[in-house]
């Protein structure tokens, strides 16, 4: 088990390193970053000074080395727009995003699993049909539209919930619901289908033959096996979640990293974009690592490989 985790950690580190390199080259290709901050009529000498300041006068490989070195220290340079260290900027906004993402994930998982399990147990019932329709609609609803509509309905028309900013738990409800919907729908659908498969399988038949009570059959025998594909889906959903935060933070003016990224991007503030991309990849890789460890916990075949 330790060996397995160690192996996965090393793999993750390699992945992150490769991403750093790719991001570095991509960003360098975006065009001259100075064009954004230097007024068009600036003196050539001033441009040179700025170039030196940001290290842009060096050969590209050397720039990469310097970049890697500073990236290792967590230094991604200073934001052009906000004049603050880029990583600190991203990190300072991170708790808000985390709050949003975690609540969205919780909503999606809890509701998605329960809808899916009940649907699978009561196949073709009214409940199942409602659940199926709901997940079909949920998967087709663009989150930004849902956000805007929820805002209109609960915020503007009914005036029940605050529509922008961060603060109380009430502020969280709309954005978190918006983000979670797609994941919730997909989790519900997959849970339904993999539970149906699991319930049909030989080992469930065997458990029933043994006289194991229904709730134990469902929750231990079937759900444990069904959870493997669901876990895979959830790790993939995390990518939607990140996309979701970017969009939803923009709509609900949530002061998180996603909104920061869009602002930075539109302002060509590339140290911030870079820091954000790397940070997001880092988080994403970390989540995948956790998911893989969970796999190993659920599935002994991975543990004993």
């Amino acid at each position: 088990m330790q060996k397995y985790i160690f192996k996965r950690i090393v793999q993750s580190v390699v992945t992150i390193f490769l991403i750093v390199v790719i991001v570095f080259f991509l960003v360098r290709l975006t065009g001259d970053p100075l064009a954004m901050i230097v007024p068009p009529d600036a003196e050539e000498a001033d441009v040179q000074i700025l170039k030196k300041k940001f290290g842009l006068d060096q050969p590209i490989l050397l720039q990469l080395l310097v970049f890697l070195k500073s990236a290792a220290r967590g230094d991604f340079g200073e934001s052009f727009k906000w004049q603050e260290p880029a990583l600190e900027l991203v990190l300072s906004r991170f708790p808000a995003t985390l709050e949003l993402a975690v609540s969205a994930m919780l909503i999606a998982t809890i509701f998605g699993l329960s809808i899916g399990i009940v649907s699978a147990l009561k196949q073709d019932s009214v409940y199942d049909r409602v659940g199926k329709t709901f997940s079909l609609l949920g998967q087709a609803t663009p989150s930004f539209w849902l956000g805007v509509m929820l805002m209109l309905f609960f915020g503007v028309k009914l005036d029940w919930l605050p529509v922008s900013g961060r603060g109380s738990l009430l502020h969280l409800i709309l954005p978190a619901t918006t983000i979670s919907l797609i994941s919730l729908a997909s989790i519900a659908r997959l849970t339904r289908s993999s539970m149906i498969d699991a319930l049909k399988s030989e080992y469930v038949v065997m458990a029933r033959i043994k006289g194991v009570p229904q709730h134990v059959v469902v929750l231990i025998h079937a759900l444990k096996n069904a959870s493997i594909p669901i876990l895979t889906l959830m790790s993939m959903q995390f990518s939607y979640l990140i996309a979701g935060t970017v969009v939803v933070e923009t709509i609900f003016s949530w002061p998180g990293t996603g909104r920061l990224a869009i602002q930075a991007l539109l302002a060509r503030d590339f140290p911030v974009v870079q820091a954000f991309v790397l940070f997001a990849s880092f988080i994403y890789t970390a989540v995948n690592l956790i998911v893989d460890v969970l796999y190993a916990l659920i599935d002994p075949r991975i543990r004993y490989q």
Binding site: L26, V27, L265, V273
Partner: protein
């Protein structure tokens, strides 16, 4: 199904059925509500936007935009994914390892992040959206097709083809590919929905199609500012997206039931 038929119909005959010129601005007629709320005129069925443009006409044109962008994006990602999937699955070994490691790496960058990077690289435009969606989507195809190929590669009929002396190309295209075509059709249909949403999302964030084009995501973004007094500006484009995606997903599910190769084998 009928949603999809309607969708394709509007795409093809769009210009013929639009009641108004979707790009003609008329500030006198700005922000007219849909006909059932309107006392002034029922000329604009779904109302007008802040520039006085007819929303229905813009939606119909938007369908064309989203269709063209989605199709072109699919034309990039599907063949690319299929090709890599076939190669990776059939030949295995080092080629497979390299391609799969690469997809792993690609997957560890969430699609939106890649999109943000690409947009910053190419600048926001229709072409960018196509490229971004195209090259972020192929991984999915490659992985699924590879899995299918792997399962067919060890099938006895493929082994027998090798015993007979068929060339690799013949085996891949005459034996394996026809068997994965169904999965591919289902995959493309389901992916269509994803592509529509991503395109709209990018446009909504201002990273995609730029004004004054008629695109659903863009219309929504424009409507957001007027949300408190012109709900129709944001509601209808969203509903259009919802139904387009829903239609595609349902078609995909239906195809899956109809074409499912597992049901035919045994």
């Amino acid at each position: 199904m009928s949603i999809v038929a309607l969708y394709f119909f509007t795409v093809i005959f769009g210009p013929l059925i639009t009641p108004h010129d979707p790009f003609k601005t008329n500030l006198n007629k700005a922000l007219l509500p849909p006909f059932w709320q309107s006392e002034v005129s029922t000329d604009h069925l779904l109302g007008t936007d802040s520039m006085g443009r007819d929303i229905l006409s813009r939606l119909i044109y938007g369908a064309r935009t989203s269709m063209i962008v989605s199709l072109l994006a699919l034309c990039i990602c599907a063949p690319m994914g299929v090709l890599f999937g076939l190669i990776s699955g059939y030949f295995g070994g080092k080629v497979d390892t390299i391609i799969m490691r690469f997809t792993d790496l690609w997957m560890s960058m969430p699609a939106i992040i890649t999109a943000i990077l690409m947009v910053s690289l190419l600048g926001p435009s229709k072409q960018t959206v196509i490229i971004v969606v195209g090259i972020t989507g192929w991984i999915h195809y490659a992985r699924i097709i590879r899995g299918e190929v792997l399962s067919y590669k060890e099938r006895e009929f493929v082994q027998l083809a090798r015993v007979t002396g068929c060339s690799n190309t013949r085996i891949i295209f005459s034996h394996i590919f026809p068997n994965v075509v169904n999965s591919l059709i289902i995959l493309v249909t389901l992916d269509f929905g994803r592509v529509i949403i991503i395109t709209a999302t990018l446009s909504f964030l201002g990273l995609g199609i730029q004004p004054p084009s008629a695109a659903w995501g863009l219309m929504l973004a424009e409507g957001r500012q007027y949300i408190t007094y012109a709900w129709w500006m944001s509601a209808f484009p969203g509903i259009a997206i919802l139904f387009a995606v829903l239609g595609m997903n349902m078609t995909g599910d239906w195809l899956r039931d109809v074409l499912d190769p597992k049901q035919k084998l045994r």
